[in-house]
């Protein structure tokens, strides 16, 4: 599986990244790099700078891209992690609750409300949250960038609002998958068997339903990593947070092509790794896939 993913995606990523700017030779070069060695930023920078300075002549920063992006990745990682830690349990509980009350008002509320929340752009949520919690109630700061050397709780305070915006946008998809998976599991034969055996409802739900229903949810959570990064660009800009998204945005507005290319490549890799982890998690949790893959 790893081999398959590594073979298919990086080449494609390279083509996608360089597509708008580069000719076939550079695409091949990047593909070769990705295929042979896992990309190191310093090397990548050497290669890309020799290419870029030739025909664009405007490598804006003298700082190595790895420096520019290194700190940004850590910062974005914190924000993304916080958002995921909030949204995954919340959405799974929401989806399962909706599924168990299928067709009820609560189900409609969670399903339609969740999808509507998902459809509202991140910056609109950001505006609402800033107005209500930061300016109206004065609970949180309006930016996400904590003062230097701030402790973990101060950082959390600064990151909570931006993370909540991402939570709103991600909630709908994950809750919907959890709901669909749970409904399917509730209707399955093994669940009926378990109920007919006289097992308590709690045990049936915990042992039989949830284990099966959450499998597809895991796959969705991984694909959300991609959307999450797209959302990071907007959220980091509006909250003025020095993360990967902000770096990309600056690079794009300033036509800082090397940073832009490396940043986008990085996102492709993060996305690939997320998908890979989801695949592995899936096979660990699902014995059927594990057996199938061993063949």
């Amino acid at each position: 599986m790893i081999f398959f993913a590594a073979q298919v995606l990086p080449g494609d990523v390279a083509r996608r990244i360089l597509g708008p700017f580069a000719d076939q030779a550079s695409v091949d070069a990047l593909s070769r790099r990705l295929g042979t060695d896992r990309s190191l930023f310093a090397q990548y920078w050497d290669w890309i700078s020799s290419f870029v300075t030739g025909d664009l002549g405007e490598s804006i920063r003298n700082r190595p891209v790895s420096d520019v992006l290194g700190n940004a990745i850590v910062a974005s990682g914190k924000l993304a992690l916080l958002a995921f830690l909030i949204v995954v349990p919340l959405a799974i509980v929401g989806g399962v609750v909706a599924a168990m009350n299928e067709g009820s008002f609560r189900d409609r509320l969670i399903s339609v409300g969740g999808l509507s929340a998902t459809a509202i752009p991140e910056f609109v949520w950001a505006v609402f949250f800033i107005l209500i919690f930061a300016l109206g109630l004065g609970l949180f700061p309006t930016t996400a960038q904590p003062p230097g050397g701030a402790g973990i709780f101060t950082q959390l305070e600064y990151l909570l609002l931006p993370a909540l915006c991402l939570v709103c946008v991600l909630f709908g998809y994950i809750a919907r998958m959890a709901r669909a998976g749970t409904i399917e599991a509730l209707e399955a034969d093994y669940t009926r068997t378990a109920i007919l055996k006289g097992m308590p409802r709690r045990t049936v739900i915990g042992r039989h339903v949830l284990r099966n229903s959450l499998l597809p949810t895991i796959a969705v959570v991984a694909t959300q990593a991609g959307y999450l990064i797209g959302g990071l660009v907007i959220i980091e800009v509006i909250f003025n947070y020095q993360g990967l998204g902000q770096a990309l945005f600056r690079a794009a507005t300033g036509k800082d092509i090397p940073v832009l290319q490396s940043g986008v490549l990085l996102i492709g890799i993060v996305y690939l790794v997320a998908t890979l982890i989801a695949d592995m998690l899936y096979s660990v949790l699902n014995p059927r896939v594990r057996l199938g893959a061993a063949e």
Partner: protein, 306 residues
């Protein structure tokens, strides 16, 4: 299999068994099925509410300029950032432009860009989905790899790259969103076609020696219209989401257009200074529009997927 992709199976089999000469098959069967769906739609609360909201914004987009009391583009630097008052219902922005007029007229850009992009995506995606689903084999493999490559990066990031490469404009925005959404739609259509192609009416058409384009577009397409329409309404919501996001970043519709995302991006820096009106009202406009479209999509999905 693909649970959301199941087209009304009753209609499909009826057409297949009752009248294999499929030219006339769209006749009565198709019409009653459509009428049934419309009746379901009319009873769907979420569809009605959504249609009212979206209809309101559509009216604003078409007639907005005639109705609003002020010119949305006329700046008046002396009267900038006036709080909402009797004269300026929603206040003025940092150039003294009337926020109410800009919010109302601002419906136009997004309601041109998003539907056009979605139509483009649906047409391209449907064609791709029909071809990949019907042929399988090498054609499917090659096209599917390319599609996967398109899906490997977040749409916003791709839009950002394209905007940098081509420069922001309405056309760029439509093309970017249209082309990026096409692969997603093609997957749904492909899933629907995969089940459809095994049905008898397709083999019947093949045995009659019908040409492949006819089988694809004349036989299979009408039977997968359900999921395509659902997909269209769902993607329309995402198109608005994406267009607004790109506009907010400055990669969408260029200023001084009264676009909502652009208005938010021009003024969000002033929000901590207490100037909330030029930010809040366009934000509310976007929120109501996407929720409206989503309610329509919800209604359409429940009417078409049974």
């Amino acid at each position: 299999m693909s649970a959301p992709g199941q087209p009304a199976p009753a209609g499909a089999t009826e057409i297949g068994t009752a009248s294999p000469a499929a030219v006339g098959a769209r006749g009565d069967d198709g019409r009653t099925a459509t009428q049934e769906r419309l009746a379901l739609l009319k009873r769907s609360k979420s569809f009605i509410v959504g249609a009212i909201i979206v209809g309101f914004w559509a009216l604003c987009a078409i007639f907005g300029e005639l109705v609003v009391p002020k010119d949305p583009l006329a700046s008046d630097p002396i009267n900038d950032l006036i709080a909402p008052s009797a004269d300026n219902w929603l206040g003025t922005d940092k150039l003294g432009r009337d926020v109410f007029a800009r919010v109302i007229v601002g419906a136009r850009d997004i309601l041109i860009v998003a539907p056009l992009a979605t139509i483009l995506a649906t047409v391209v995606g449907t064609a791709l989905g029909l071809v990949t689903g019907y042929f399988r084999g090498t054609v499917d493999d090659v096209l599917s790899r390319i599609i996967e490559a398109f899906l490997a990066l977040p749409v916003i990031i791709m839009g950002l790259l394209v905007a940098v490469a081509l420069g922001p404009s309405k056309i760029t925005l439509i093309l970017t969103i249209g082309i990026l959404f096409a692969p997603i739609i093609s997957r749904t259509v492909r899933a629907a076609v995969l089940t459809e192609r095994e049905l008898e009416y397709v083999s019947a058409a093949r045995l009659r020696n019908e040409r492949t384009p006819y089988i694809l577009f004349g036989e299979i397409l009408p039977n997968v219209m359900g999921p395509i329409i659902v997909e269209f309404t769902v993607r329309l919501g995402y198109a608005i989401f994406t267009a607004a996001g790109l506009s907010f970043l400055g990669f969408g519709i260029p200023p001084p257009a009264p676009d909502w995302g652009l208005q938010v991006s021009e003024h969000y820096g002033l929000i901590s200074g207490g100037f909330w009106w030029p930010v809040l009202f366009p934000s509310l406009a976007i929120a109501t529009l996407v929720v409206g479209v989503n309610l329509i999509a919800d209604g359409v999905a429940s009417a078409f997927e049974r």
